[in-house]
Symmetry: C2
Subunit: 285 residues, 2 copies
DNA sequence: CCCTGTGATACCCCACAGGTATCGCGCCGT
DNA sequence: ACGGCGCGATACCTGTGGGGTATCACAGGG
């Protein structure tokens, strides 16, 4: 009566994201008619219209918008339950506990190295698997159980819903082509690097789509690094990005960029001893 | 394959809590054999034994323990999704948005009155429904969608998994029978009120069961208040509990009790404007 | 020793998730 | 104006599996 099945939620989420029954059905690996029916049934069960069917496509009602968010959380929680249960059993079959740590590839490299080193030295440390995650996806990794713990960076990642400890604060730098005039400066402001006509900011793919604009379209950090080295663009990064700079890159501190704080974050209700030990190690670095 | 149905989770949780298939089935309103089968199927699907069947009852394996916690979260999230979706639609049918505020009955009474007063004066304030919740149940109310926002008190409630703002900090008092010798003291310590032979601490029901001990068994605050007035027990409460003291009660500050901090807390991912306004009002009190 | 309480098995049934075929209907092109 | 196309809804069929009842197997306890 008042608890939705994850199947219903998965179906609804597919439709809510595609806004098209046919494509949603395809994504779910099923035919379109049963999907239509399932959604109608869901709406009847809830007594609430979720979709406004306009003859050429579908739009979410306000209630549908709510379910899109709440449903995502619930489905993630259900898949996290499955993943973590499986892993709990796998970790208990004689091998050591295994922790999955999500990090944004390339970020906080030095911190990460020190953390892993210090933790490995702990008595009965768990095995730590590094899960390189895409742009700002650590939160999702934690929510759906692919990761147990993550390094996250405010203000880019939201820590909402997680427990976390602050680790380090760092300034930001502009990463410029080494031969660019501004590369010689001792410091810069955000305004000076934004809107440079010769170095338009790159456009990161978001859900596979590039936002419009003048800059080059990129999907990973190597592309960005190369484009900077080629003198085509500029990027703003936390100080620790110096770890992966090329010789053809120049780093210039930004005086007015918001400081970036690296946190170690984990699901709020976690009760893992290995995780607690890792967090303790991290805060003591 | 890797996402569990809430039905399976509900079944498992019932068994995990009852540790008895028969009673669990009864609680679920179904017969025992299908429940047995469903759990076996769940174990096969996960490839993980969840329950250790001893001939006289059932115990949770380590993986089962994990699923008990993760599953609870997931099921709560699913029912929250249903509740909040329904309420979103109900609030959109012409009537005003409605916020449900969970508070522990009796606690922070004055703060609550001021909050409601100040918020009602706001332009386009939502209607606020007060949901009196049992002992420390506000967290569950937020998780399963019965409430949108709660007043919570550390260190009694855990704020893990919620966004929150600190509101007020207060000391704690011993609530004594007015005619008790200690009632005349200007202050006391925890050690002095614990283990008083003539005033044993009351035993609150937890899940319907009273822990063992010498004190009287109680299930609500009125019972407690009466027993104190009758000179049978003593209680420790935050300072704001003075609001509901009887004339036959005496309040004596405790010098070494941990301070109680009242927070306003809400689900981390909430995007409700009405909620944001309520929180803003609360922090400005 | 039988009785009681436990979970597992055996067997049956029908409700419903899912498939295929088709419809109704706006929108497009020409 | 008209036929084709893309969309979601409807009609109808089928098979799986969730749920029921009856029963078993077995460990303790009087």
């Amino acid at each position: 009566m008042d608890t939705l099945e994850t199947r219903e939620l998965r179906y609804f989420l597919a439709v809510a994201e595609e806004l098209n029954f046919g494509r949603a059905a395809e994504r779910l690996g099923m035919a379109q008619p049963p999907l239509s029916r399932a959604i109608q049934q869901l709406e009847r069960r809830l007594g609430v219209p979720l979709l406004a069917r306009d003859r050429r496509g579908v739009a979410l009602t306000e209630a549908g918008e709510v379910l899109r968010h709440e449903g995502r959380v619930a489905v993630d929680a259900a898949t996290a339950a499955a993943r973590r249960t499986r892993r709990a059993a796998a970790g208990n079959d004689g091998s050591r506990t295994r922790l999955v740590l999500a990090v944004k590839a390339g970020d906080s490299h030095d911190l990460l190295r020190r953390l892993l080193g210090a933790y490995a030295a702990e008595p009965d440390a768990a095995e730590v698997e590094i899960l390189p995650s895409g742009t700002c996806e650590q939160g999702k990794m934690l929510r759906d159980g692919r990761a147990d713990v993550a390094l996250m960076h405010t203000p880019f990642n939201s820590l909402a819903g997680f427990d976390s400890e602050e680790l380090v604060t760092e300034g930001q730098i502009a990463v410029l082509p080494a031969r660019h005039p501004l590369a010689a400066r001792s410091h810069l402001t955000l305004a000076e690097v934004r809107d440079l006509p010769d170095l338009p900011l790159a456009r990161w793919a978001r859900d596979g789509v590039h936002p419009p604009g003048p800059g080059p379209a990129i999907t990973d950090q190597t592309q960005l690094a190369q484009l900077i080295a080629l003198g085509r663009t500029v990027a703003v990064y936390p100080d620790s990005a110096r770890a992966w700079l090329w010789t053809e890159h120049a780093a210039v501190p930004l005086t007015d960029a918001p400081p970036v704080v690296t946190h170690i974050a984990w699901p709020a209700h976690s009760r893992s001893l290995a995780l607690a030990a890792l967090v303790r190690t991290a805060t003591r670095l």
